[in-house]
């Protein structure tokens, strides 16, 4: 399966970031396993340590299995000043996890991230590919419930 993804791209090192994105996006647990690193390494003829280095450098990649939906709450100054910490507290209690953890049912992973560039609507979070702005505690509850319903 990993090889098939690799073969969509020319075997050149500058495609590494693309291949890793693709592998992670298509994996049900949104992460890049050691096995995947091996396959990519052989395909691109790049040592595994280089790939691991790239993987751990960029915040969008994960080397640990994650939940079905990935929540990324912005903690940069413009969101911070608009109360992102309260939103974080709400997310933690609502989901029953700490930052970086996945809920028991495997539905959500909670992460923090740097500025998403939607500061006009701070505080902001992304769930998978969707941006949610002007967050309030009630709104968070609503969003989580809606996503959970959609995943049933």
């Amino acid at each position: 399966m990993y090889l098939e993804i690799c073969q969509k791209y020319a075997p050149e090192k500058d495609n590494l970031i693309y291949i890793l994105h693709d592998i992670q996006d298509t994996h049900p647990q949104h992460y890049i396993s050691e096995e995947a690193v091996q396959v990519v390494s052989e395909y691109l003829k790049v040592p595994p340590n280089h790939i691991f280095g790239v993987l751990t450098f960029y915040t969008m990649y994960s080397t640990k299995p994650r939940g079905k939906n990935i929540i990324r709450l912005c903690e940069s100054p413009p969101c911070y000043i608009k109360g992102s910490e309260n939103i974080l507290r709400k997310l933690k209690t609502q989901l029953g996890v700490e930052t970086g953890e996945t809920t028991k049912d495997g539905l959500f992973t909670l992460e923090l991230c740097a500025c998403l560039g939607v500061c006009g609507n701070a505080p902001v979070m992304m769930v998978n590919n969707d941006v949610y702005g002007d967050l309030t505690e009630e709104k968070v509850e609503d969003i989580l419930a809606r996503i959970a319903r959609g995943n049933q």
Binding site: S76, P77, G117, V118, G133
Partner: protein
């Protein structure tokens, strides 16, 4: 050509898409048809409107009435009241008292002159607005050296941060004899509070493409890469569409406009690293490596991507180029201040009445920007400070409200201009707290290549956390300044050289706050 009584501009952006803008437009069109107004009222989907409201936002021209948070349920009432009876629906207006309307200074805009007016997904509308005329001029009437001379004369300075003269940068690469040269567009906008490049790309993607084409012609590049952050889905989508349209119209590919000039533009998506906004780190990332900055010299203009001469320019910089070529440097020089021509795009956030974006002449004061373009402070709040330039920015106190915002006047703080983020704090907000958030950000984003930045960011965060908790002393504050100063002198790239600005400006201008908190 049809004439309409009113034009309803609907802003399509990340926020409005999430609020269901597509359903809204459908409902609005249906309702207008039901009232038989479809020949009188034109509904246009466009990019950023110039203010940030909640949910779906509309601007209605020529009335210049702005609505926010409009929902599908509101459509019948809106159509009946505003479009049938001609009474703006105050309940949904941006400012329900109707006193403040965002200032749309379209006559004074350069890079955002089409934004919110044309459909960003249509090349015909861009051409209709005079687009690609500059390209035609650059390819058919000018020699590459003329283009560079014109840009040099215009005094255009890089809008990414450092403010390096663009024409001079190009002139390093142009004369080099190399089999391949590249243009790389830095669209990896990661500075907290900054999203002007996103608005430029969402609102008018073709203008950026035209700027790239002219730059490529000037330096002799045949391949351009737009390095854009993965989170900017809408920008990526619009740029992809725009590139496809250009190919179809023969504006990209081989022998463009039969001038013998070839160019391809490709989009590359980043993976979330602030440091990749640094040009050499960005190049490393493009090559499929960790985004660690490279040693300079050689500068990318001489040896960049795959060792080929590479010009790296910011989105806003390139978006200025078509205007300069089309109208000539002399017209461009009539914008802005002495020693710093042109305009600057700002995003105004925080406790102002109407957060928004504006494009104003270089040299406009902070006071004007806040009062005229953002409606002043939010009711009941007093101005305390503005964090200008995001995390790598400075705190400007009240006494600096009248400083001209341009490279010569902000001198030591000039690097903050690039980002164009203005975050306004009110008198209840703590500068110490903000500084904590900034230093936390730097601790996370330091790439770890050089020791001063790697260790310095950790220590700065440790000290500010101690101070924030009330356990610090004034010696800790001094130590913080001295560490940041050392980082400035010894760090490998601009990231490690940046924290000093926020640290020093906070300590210089808001010393009382530090004295207060360390006394506890």
């Amino acid at each position: 050509m049809k004439f309409f009584r009113s034009h309803v501009l609907v802003g399509i952006n990340e926020t409005s898409l999430q609020a269901g803008v597509q359903d809204f437009i459908k409902a609005l069109r249906n309702e207008l048809a039901k009232q038989n107004l479809q020949e009188e009222i034109n509904v246009l989907e466009t990019g950023p409107l110039g203010f940030f409201g909640r949910g779906v936002c509309l601007s209605v021209f020529p009335e210049n009435v702005n609505y926010q948070d409009v929902k599908v349920e509101d459509v019948p009432e809106l159509v009946e009241e505003h479009f049938l009876k001609g009474r703006p629906l105050s309940r949904l207006q941006l400012d329900s008292a109707g006193k403040f309307t965002p200032k749309f200074n379209y006559d004074k805009r350069i890079v955002l002159r089409n934004s919110g007016i044309i459909d960003p997904e249509s090349i015909d509308e861009y051409i209709g607005a005079g687009g690609y005329e500059a390209l035609e001029k650059a390819l058919l009437q000018m020699k590459p050296a003329d283009i560079i001379a014109e840009v040099k004369k215009s005094g255009l300075k890089g809008r990414g941060g450092a403010g390096f003269p663009t024409g001079v940068k190009w002139s390093f690469t142009a004369p080099l004899d190399a089999p391949q040269k590249y243009i790389v567009v830095n669209a990896d906008e990661g500075e907290p509070g900054t999203f002007k490049d996103r608005l430029i790309m969402e609102g008018d993607p073709h203008q950026l493409l035209e700027g790239i084409m002219i730059a490529a012609r000037a330096v002799g590049a045949t391949k351009a890469w737009i390095y854009i952050r993965g989170e900017y889905k809408l920008c990526i989508e619009r740029l992809q569409k725009a590139i496809a349209q250009c190919k179809e119209y023969g504006l990209l590919g081989k022998n463009i406009l039969e001038s013998g000039f070839d160019l391809d533009i490709d989009i590359r998506i980043g993976a979330g690293a602030y440091v990749c906004g640094e040009e050499t780190a960005l190049i490393e990332s493009l090559e499929g490596n960790r985004g660690n900055p490279r040693w300079k010299p050689p500068f990318p203009g001489v040896k960049g991507l795959w060792q080929a001469p590479t010009v790296v320019n910011n989105v806003e910089t390139l978006a200025n180029v078509p205007f300069i070529i089309k109208n000539g440097a002399d017209v461009y020089l009539s914008y802005g201040s002495e020693g710093c021509p042109g305009t600057k795009v700002y995003t105004i956030l925080g406790d102002v009445a109407h957060p928004g974006l504006c494009e104003v002449d270089m040299g406009t004061t902070l006071r004007t920007i806040i009062n005229e373009y953002a409606g002043g402070m939010k009711k009941g709040f007093r101005f305390k400070a503005a964090l200008v330039g995001g995390a790598a920015g400075v705190f400007l106190p009240e006494k600096m409200l009248d400083v001209q915002m341009d490279f010569p006047h902000l001198n030591e703080y000039a690097a903050v201009l690039g980002s164009g983020a203005i975050l306004v704090l009110n008198e209840h907000q703590s500068v110490v707290d903000m500084l904590w958030s900034i230093l936390k950000f730097f601790r996370h984003e330091s790439c770890g290549k050089c020791a001063p930045c790697r260790n310095g960011c950790q220590q700065l965060y440790r000290l500010i956390t101690k101070i924030k908790k009330g356990n610090g002393t004034m010696e800790d504050v001094d130590l913080m300044v001295s560490i940041a100063q050392t980082m400035f002198s010894t760090s490998f790239c601009a990231l490690g050289q940046s924290p000093i600005m926020a640290v020093r400006s906070a300590v210089d201008h808001f010393k009382d706050e530090f004295i207060e908190i360390t006394k506890k």
